[in-house]
């Protein structure tokens, strides 16, 4: 109230004082409206709230100047400033608490809650109040303002309430405030302000809705991101596990290979030192079975380096009318063969044709005149270009020619090839044989390309 003492009332009388107050009130109202627009445009989280708080300070100052925010011409809830703090509104100066006639509030998640209780006008006209606007004892107005004096208040948050009686008391307490309130309530200008505030309120509602939707979408995206992150983490974990498993498997395989190499070398050395005994043992171990199958007639002892008999096989492609009575059926790769004595027969349009030993064929016994050769400590039984290996099932399988095998003779039907340097090689059934001297005997070594 000390400010009033400085006013020109002392010189020009009450009329001049009223005129000046009216002008100030109008200026304050304009400023409040402008700030209210800014506040509406800006979401609370982005500064609107803080601007409103600033206005509250201004309201208090104006109320002090206006003698408590009294309203002329009717009880208007002006005079009391509207301070927003934690959703409560209190009047300052005149103490008029603001009525929460129409309140909309936003919950903590941004959802807007609305309640629209009507508030009866206390004076000549009702003024929609905007809680953030108060100048010169005016009540800040917000939301919709109707010409009939209905006030729709919007406050964010609006837990505090005020009654019309409180507002009337506030109006009586401040003449200047009442004068300003009456001025605002009058004429079309007041209606325009109410319409603008309605639009602002609607825009605020839409903005709130959009904000809510954005928040929802953000929430959804956040959830999706979190889900994806979780899935990525799971996949990374799975990949890591897989990598570790593979690494472990590789390590195990490497160790196994190394161990096998070591064992093969040791076996090879052992085998080399005892090769003759092993050959003898092999024949002794297998002879009974071989003899059972082939009878004891017509077959010579095996492992005869110097022997050429018994080695003359039937030429590949030779056509015959009948096959031996005691043939053994063999199926390889969907094809049928008939096996006997190291010779494989395939059905032909007129009888049978002699074919090469098919790799993968499994027979009960190799031909008894096969020659035992050792490769990496593994004994193979060689006969006419075919290598038989004893398998776990107790049978003998035809396997691919092992590199390094030294065989005492070439299979019937081999082909001769001379290399670019003049070296002679022999081929048979996709296997390359290199002639060498082994212990003074001519032998043929299987080589890989």
């Amino acid at each position: 109230m000390s400010a009033l003492n400085d006013l020109p009332v002392r010189r020009n009388g009450c009329l001049l004082l009223l005129k000046r107050w009216t002008t100030r009130a109008l200026l304050a109202a304009t400023a409040a409206i402008a700030l209210g627009l800014v506040s509406n445009v800006m979401p609370p989280s982005q500064g609107g709230l803080s601007l409103t708080a600033l206005l509250g300070v201004s309201d208090a100052a104006a109320a002090r100047r206006g003698g408590g925010g009294a309203r002329a011409g009717g009880a208007r809830p002006s005079g009391g400033s509207v301070s927003r703090s934690s959703g409560s509104m209190r009047s300052s100066g005149g103490g008029a608490q603001r009525s929460g006639a129409s309140q909309r509030s936003f919950n903590s998640s941004g959802q807007r809650t609305a309640s629209r209780p009507s508030q009866r006008d206390m004076g000549g006209g009702q003024v929609s109040q905007r809680d953030r606007q108060a100048a010169g004892g005016q009540v800040s107005q917000r939301d919709r303002q109707t010409a009939s004096g209905q006030v729709s208040q919007r406050d964010r948050p609006s837990q505090g309430t005020s009654t019309g009686r409180d507002l009337a008391a506030g109006a009586a307490a401040g003449v200047a405030g009442g004068a300003v309130g009456g001025a605002l309530a009058e004429g079309g200008r007041g209606e325009g302000l109410a319409a603008r505030e309605d639009r602002q309120g609607a825009a605020g509602d839409r903005q709130g809705e959009r904000q809510g939707e954005r928040t929802e979408r953000q929430g959804d995206r956040q959830d999706t991101r979190e889900e994806r992150a979780g899935e990525r983490t799971d996949r990374q974990g799975e990949r890591q596990d897989t990598r570790q498993e593979r690494q472990g498997e590789r390590t195990e395989r490497s160790e196994e290979r190394q161990q096998q190499r070591t064992e093969r070398r040791e076996d090879w050395q052992d085998f080399r030192s005892q090769s003759r005994e092993d050959r003898q043992d092999w024949m002794e171990d297998n002879w009974d079975e071989i003899e059972d199958i082939y009878d004891d007639d017509g077959w010579w002892d095996a492992d005869c380096d110097g022997c050429a008999w018994g080695l003359a096989g039937l030429a590949i492609g030779a056509a015959i009318a009948t096959i031996p009575n005691y043939y053994y059926p063999v199926y390889v790769g969907g094809y049928s063969y008939y096996y006997y004595g190291g010779v494989y027969y395939a059905p032909a349009p007129t009888g049978y044709v002699v074919v090469e030993a098919p790799v993968g064929a499994v027979v009960e016994a190799p031909p008894p005149e096969c020659h035992v050769v050792a490769v990496d400590a593994m004994p193979y039984c060689y006969y006419q270009g075919a290598f038989y290996l004893f398998d776990d099932s107790g049978n003998y399988s035809v396997v691919a020619a092992p590199a390094g095998a030294l065989v005492p003779y070439l299979p019937t039907g081999y082909a001769t090839q001379v290399s670019s340097t003049g070296a002679t090689y022999y081929t048979y059934n996709n296997t390359l044989y290199q002639p060498v001297y082994d212990g003074g005997e001519l032998a043929y070594r299987v080589v890989y390309l």
Partner: protein, 289 residues
Amino acid sequence: MGSRRISEKVLRVLALASVVAAVGVFAQEQEPETVASASAATDAAAEQPTDERRIDETAAKYMRAACEYLKGQQAFSVHAEGTLEEIFRSGRRVQHSRGITVTFRRPDRLRADVEFDKGRREFYYDGKSVVITDVDAKVYGRFDAPPTTEAMLDDAMARFNVEMPLADLVSAEPCGVLQGNVDRAWYLGEHYFAGGRYHHVLLSTPDVDLQVWVTGGDQPVFRKLVFLYRNEPGMPQYGVALSKWNFAPATDETTFTFTPRADTRQIEFVVAAEEPAAEAPADAPAAQE
């Protein structure tokens, strides 16, 4: 039972026959009643019970004469027809043969021509290298060799597991290799063989029984040898008939020097105890069916 094993044994025992016979003969002549004490220079002999050795004096005499005569010759050639016996598990027997002609000149020349089921094979030693060639296969192999026959035989066996045909016959001490192994010797009399009559001797070792037909006179030579491998399955035999002894063979450097024919290719020797090569040489052609 491997024929290679038999073949090698045949060759070894062929030489052994001379040695053993000679040892037995020598021992009997020196100490007729205690043959073992004469040949007890080896540990093997010391292990044998002396009371089981019975060496006939006549048998020892003829064996020692043939061995010493051979040892004293600076050069000779001889032809051998060998018969190797293979045996069925059922006990049936089959024979196959090979012919060997050896030409030898001390101290560093040797030539052997072999013909057998696989074709013709020739051995050459000229004091510098050894060549083995399979004539029909048109291949040959060569490796450097020591300057004496005795060293060459050892080197070839050590490096390449190569054993020359009738190698012990050309050894500097053909009678010294298997001393002490003979524990029984009998003189069986003069028996007919191939148009002539020869002193027939039976020698026995723990593993082999050896029959020898040996000539008498100024040139005592072996004419026939039969080996029985008593500890092998089926007890196979190997027999060799020696003929065409010539102690003044007509030889020159071409006899012991190999000259490859135009269509003959050189191949390598597999080093003894080497691990099989898994990769083809760089010049190897692609395999064709």
